[in-house]
Amino acid sequence: MKHMPQPSLLASGLLLALTIAPTAFAQSGAQDSAPVIRNRSIAYVMTMEEWAMHKTPGAKAECPNGMNEGPREQFKVLFPENGPKRTVVGTQLAREAQVYFPTPETENMPFREAVGPVVPGINLDGKVDADDFTSPDGVKGIDNQFFRVIGCVSSYRDVAALMVTKWRVDNSFNRVVIELTDVDDLGSDNDVTVTTYRGLSAMLPDATGSGYMPGASQKLDMRFGKDFISSFKGKIVDGVLITEPGDYLMPYQALANVSTLLFRGLKFEVRLSQDSAEGYMGGYLDIASWYAQRQQSISTHHQSYGQESSPTVYKALTRLADGYPDQAGHNTAISGALHVRFTQVFVDHPTRATAQAGGAAAPANR
């Protein structure tokens, strides 16, 4: 776990897109009247997230056996129309019970795993194992077994990914802010600290409709958001932030229901600029946390739209889990990564009096 992998983002073509192409006759060279790194700190707010996946047109490469079937398709197989007379309790409700109380042993529906070999993410354990992937820019040992679970489930591709980003920016519950402190140089720094927070302020969309304004401010939630505060030691190598692993509870509201997502051993590999940041947050997803979040956020009828059958997915999760074994030796977490984008913000730490009134003080490293 302590091994730091080669920064997989350094050569990433994806991140080259962060460079702003000069527009004809645009007023290039614009400089702000104040630096964005103040008191050796810079902060960003998350504006996009999607599960790190390798996606090809029609999913032909990563899903050679096709896409998975969802609750409605499975229901027709389990309970064909020409079968015996059945009850609601014995069919719909029985299947719904399996959604909320899944057991890998009783689930027998087929599942189609996604396959590599090229998948983005982070080498979490510093090893190159047989079931690891290679990143698009050639880094080996990528730990992303979660991709095998969701890669061929429609819910997690394209439109669904857009929905997740919409929830991320629309709901203040989901506002993820990271603050880098002890920063001397955004291009290279051997010792920085990353602290996660939940922000409370609205996002400011830019004039393009697809981005957000750097330089906005975010008030930090030091009261109800204290569970989302985590600190990571890290360094900046050639403009890429790389952190040591740490646990992180991520606010995760979808639709109307609030829920959270627990990452164990999360690492950041994010390319930084004065305006934005983009890269990966990778770690071991706590399966119980992830599954509960999924059911609280997305009901069966919504999952049906994306052919996502939770009992079948759960079985795959437990089978492919690769970290944090329990006392019985069963892995309780699965490696995965989020592809994330951030926009620079200034953070407004509540005053000491406010923090005390709210029951949470600013972290000691500030």
């Binding site: 527009t23 004809a24 060279g29 400089q31 702000d32 009247s33 400011l204 330089g215 407004d348």
Partner: protein, 572 residues
């Protein structure tokens, strides 16, 4: 239809004074080599003030949507607020308020007025609002009740018409309410129909000014008390007179020096003064341009629709704070580092903020200093995709110094400044190339040395030190006063004599509703002196204008005026 036609049925006895003819008299600009001073140059030599030189003209003005809404807010409370968007007005002699005297009213506009009136009337008589907006209850809600209708209509008509209605006209409105109640078997619906008619009445929508002989000056005319109350109220509050001002008019107090001063002082002390001051500067600074301002999102992604709204608001908040609340010197508006920030503007300025509108002071080493460095001026007077030294220089001349800049020749060649593949890297390089054409050079000398001092700010108002990789030279010259950067420009503007005479001229024209020109020389000179003696404080200027003889005394001889807006403009 033209306003005068619209009025013909209602205002046959009230002459419509010469405004249309006035606009035809455009001021001829003698030369591009020196900026004009809008007419005052034509008047030479001392002369005893005649009646016409210390009086203003009688006006008939179309109420603006803001004035209509402000009036409704006073009469019916802030909850009754229709979506009133009246047609744009024609800017005349630098002011929309002057344009209200020559506005036309189309059939489409009439429909807007009618719909607005219907909306307001419905809100006033609805079950929720009638309890506190109608001071009596009918004997039966399904029948007419002339007594109750009269109580309500008498009260609101006095405020809406800005004078008491005579009994005959009031009887007609009561009869209309009663007929509606009988026909619809609903007292409130009938009352609403009468109120709708009143709100849509030309005598409400049009601010007409009635005259009477001035007993203090034989042969002269003056506004009658109610007309003076209206002129005062629309000037200082951007709304119709309140109950107290109408009472002062009823008692004749406004026609005495002491009474007029007391009413003006009360209005200046009211929180409603903010509405008037915001409206005046919104007009003077031509902030209606923000209604259509847009930037190229691919070039300025951080300039959003919210930025447009907030940029206007930032400057107006700064003006109110500096000039009304803190009562600072008007000239300091152009050098102060104090302002207000919204979240959207803070992001554009790249300044941390705590949310909402908050006061902010730029540090002493920051290039932001004064109104010229606010987004409203910088982005408002620039192109959608680039800055413009010419537009900014022209705006400074015309808006702040009252110096019209001539239009460019019809055959001007803009290629040197508009070619996106130009080898000229900075605006100064491009303008210099453009000035190689002697036809253009004459006028650009008026604008560009000022505008180039603002080149450290791009078309969206963001600070920069380079353009296309080349360092920006922000040095310049304002009428002989050289400077090296925008702070020098701010200081030069602060001390420019035309800065204060311009706001005096605008305030007088705004208050009286007509162009201020050579005919008003004596009044303007007096106001200039008063403004200087008072330390260039805007409340003092407003008081001086409102209590001046010219504000209430009316000339009976139409005068020629200049239409600066028709004469202005150069290459952009």
């Amino acid at each position: 239809m033209l306003l005068r036609h619209f009025l013909s049925r209602t205002f046959l006895s009230q002459s419509f004074i010469s405004a249309g003819a006035a606009t035809a008299m455009a001021l001829a600009l003698a030369s591009c080599s020196q900026p004009s001073t809008e007419g005052r140059v034509a008047v030479t030599g001392p002369a005893a003030p005649s009646i016409s030189s210390v009086s203003s003209e009688r006006r008939l003005r179309l109420m603006t949507s803001a004035q209509y809404l402000n009036t409704l807010a006073y009469v019916f409370g802030p909850n009754v607020r229709p979506d009133a968007r009246f047609a744009p007005l024609q800017r005349t002699d630098g002011l929309l308020s002057v344009g209200t005297s020559i506005a036309g009213v189309t059939a489409g506009q009439m429909e807007v007025y009618q719909k607005t009136a219907a909306s307001v009337a419905a809100q006033v008589v609805n079950a929720e609002n009638r309890k506190f907006l109608i001071p009596c209850a009918p004997k039966s809600e399904t029948a007419r009740d002339d007594e109750c209708a009269r109580v309500f209509l008498k009260k609101v008509s006095r405020l809406l018409y800005r004078r008491p209605l005579d009994d005959k006209r009031l009887d007609e409105w009561v009869a209309q309410a009663g007929a509606g109640a009988e026909r619809l078997k609903d007292f409130y619906t009938g009352l609403g129909s009468a109120l709708e008619g009143m709100l849509f009445n030309p005598q409400v929508l049009l601010i007409s000014e009635r005259l009477e002989a001035d007993p203090k000056t034989p042969g002269a005319m003056r506004l009658d008390s109610y007309a003076l109350a209206a002129r005062l109220s629309f000037f200082l509050w951007d709304a119709a007179p309140d109950d107290l001002l109408l009472k002062a008019a009823e008692k004749g107090e406004l026609q005495t020096e002491k009474g007029l001063a007391a009413s003006v002082d009360r209005m200046l002390a009211s929180s409603r003064l903010e509405f008037g001051v915001r409206a005046f500067f919104d007009d003077m600074l031509q902030f209606d341009l923000f209604d259509t301002l847009a930037k190229d999102g691919s070039i300025y992604p951080n300039f959003t629709a919210t930025t447009v709204l907030d940029a206007r608001e930032q400057t107006l908040r700064t003006i109110v704070d500096q000039l009304i609340i803190k009562k600072r010197d008007y000239r300091d508006l152009f050098t102060t580092r104090e302002t207000f920030l919204s979240p959207s503007l803070a992001a554009l300025y790249r300044i941390p903020t705590t949310g909402g509108w908050v006061p902010y002071e730029f540090p002493a080493d920051n290039p932001r200093m004064g109104m010229l460095t606010q987004i409203s001026f910088l982005a408002g007077h620039a192109h959608p995709g680039r800055s413009s030294a010419t537009l900014r220089g022209k705006a400074l001349r015309e808006l702040l110094l009252c110096q019209p800049v001539p239009r460019p020749p019809a055959n001007v060649d803009f290629s040197a400044v508009e070619n996106p593949k130009s080898t000229h890297r900075t605006a100064r390089d491009r303008v210099t190339a453009h000035l190689s054409n002697p036809v253009c050079a004459g006028c650009h000398k008026i604008t560009d040395p000022i505008g180039l001092a603002l080149e450290n700010f791009d078309g969206a108002g963001r600070y920069r030190t380079t353009e296309r990789g080349s360092p920006i030279d922000a040095s310049g010259n304002l009428d002989g006063k050289a400077f090296t950067d925008v702070t020098g420009l701010a200081a030069a503007l602060h001390d420019h004599p035309a800065l204060t005479t311009c706001v005096v001229k605008r305030a007088y024209a705004y208050g009286t509703g007509g162009p201020a020109d050579a005919n008003n020389r004596a009044t303007l000179e007096s106001l200039d002196k008063s403004f200087a003696a008072g330390g260039y404080r805007i409340p003092g200027l407003l008081r001086a204008v409102a209590t001046s003889k010219a504000f209430s005394q009316i000339t009976t001889t139409p005068t020629a005026t200049a239409d600066a807006s028709a004469a202005g403009g150069v290459a952009k």
